[in-house]
């Protein structure tokens, strides 16, 4: 087997997905989505500054069904990345490395993200 065609670590395709690994890649995925979302935030602010016509266009897009769906998913990504980010900061401080703790904190982060999203859309 040539060096180029050797399988690369960590052999993702042979591992059964676990809560911990799924949450880990979701952190990255949500982060990338939020970086794209930040461009939309910049566009919305630019529309406010540009004047009523630009604002009306942005307002129409954001308040359509597609726009609201996008905003809802953005809210979920934001709160997930926030809650799981706090989980990472706790790890950085040296706590919660045990397997039971990692699973418990994962469930808490996921639950908190959903709860905050529901709260933000009900208020």
């Amino acid at each position: 087997m040539s060096a180029a065609s050797r399988p690369l670590s960590p052999h993702l395709q042979i591992y059964r997905p676990q809560l911990t690994s799924v949450l880990s890649i979701l952190h990255r995925g949500s982060g990338i989505i939020l970086a794209l979302g930040a461009l939309l935030v910049a566009a919305w602010l630019a529309a406010v500054a540009a004047g009523p016509a630009a604002y009306l266009a942005a307002h129409g897009l954001l308040n359509s069904w597609a726009g609201k769906t996008l905003l809802f998913l953005w809210t979920l990504c934001t709160f997930y990345h926030l809650c799981n980010g706090v989980r990472h900061l706790v790890w950085d401080a040296g706590y919660g490395f045990g397997l039971p703790a990692a699973y418990a904190s994962g469930k808490i982060a996921l639950g908190a993200a959903v709860a905050l999203t529901v709260l933000a859309w009900l208020l």
Binding site: L34, V41, L45, A49, Y55, N63
Partner: protein, 139 residues
């Protein structure tokens, strides 16, 4: 620290010998630890700012243009938004940088992608913060 080590002046490095900080590896390690620290500092700042921003922006997008202008015209909002936007775009830049370093193996493509990200995020942050200030100072 004991008295001996504080009173004794550090011996100068031997001529020609590279000091640890001057080697590429040490610079890279220092760069990496700086990246790590700023990523976490921006994360800490973003905890309260994001909680505020999500609730505030979900309200704001449903409002009229006049209401949006009035909202951005409040000094507290403009200041908080400026800090939020700076931290968020910076945090995004630091995070995306790691993703590119992990997945883009080819050296040239990696360098080009990193440069493109830097340019896009800088421009977007400038537009976003510039727009806030334009509205805030015009009102």
């Amino acid at each position: 620290m004991n008295a001996e080590s504080t009173s004794a002046p550090p011996s100068p490095p031997a001529a020609g010998a590279a000091t640890p900080a001057a080697t590429p590896a040490a610079n890279s390690a220092r760069h990496a630890s700086r990246h790590w620290r700023w990523q976490r500092l921006s994360a800490l700042a973003l905890i309260p700012l994001t909680l505020w921003f999500v609730f505030a922006i979900l309200d704001a997008v449903g409002e009229s243009h006049a209401a949006a202008l009035a909202w951005l015209g409040r000094p507290g909002v403009a200041a908080a938004l400026s800090v939020y936007l700076a931290a968020a775009f910076w945090h995004a830049q630091l995070g995306l940088q790691v993703v590119v370093e992990d997945y883009v193996a080819a050296e040239r493509a990696r360098a080009n992608t990193l440069l493109a990200l830097r340019i896009i995020n800088s421009i977007a942050a400038g537009i976003a913060i510039g727009a806030v200030w334009l509205v805030a100072f015009a009102s």
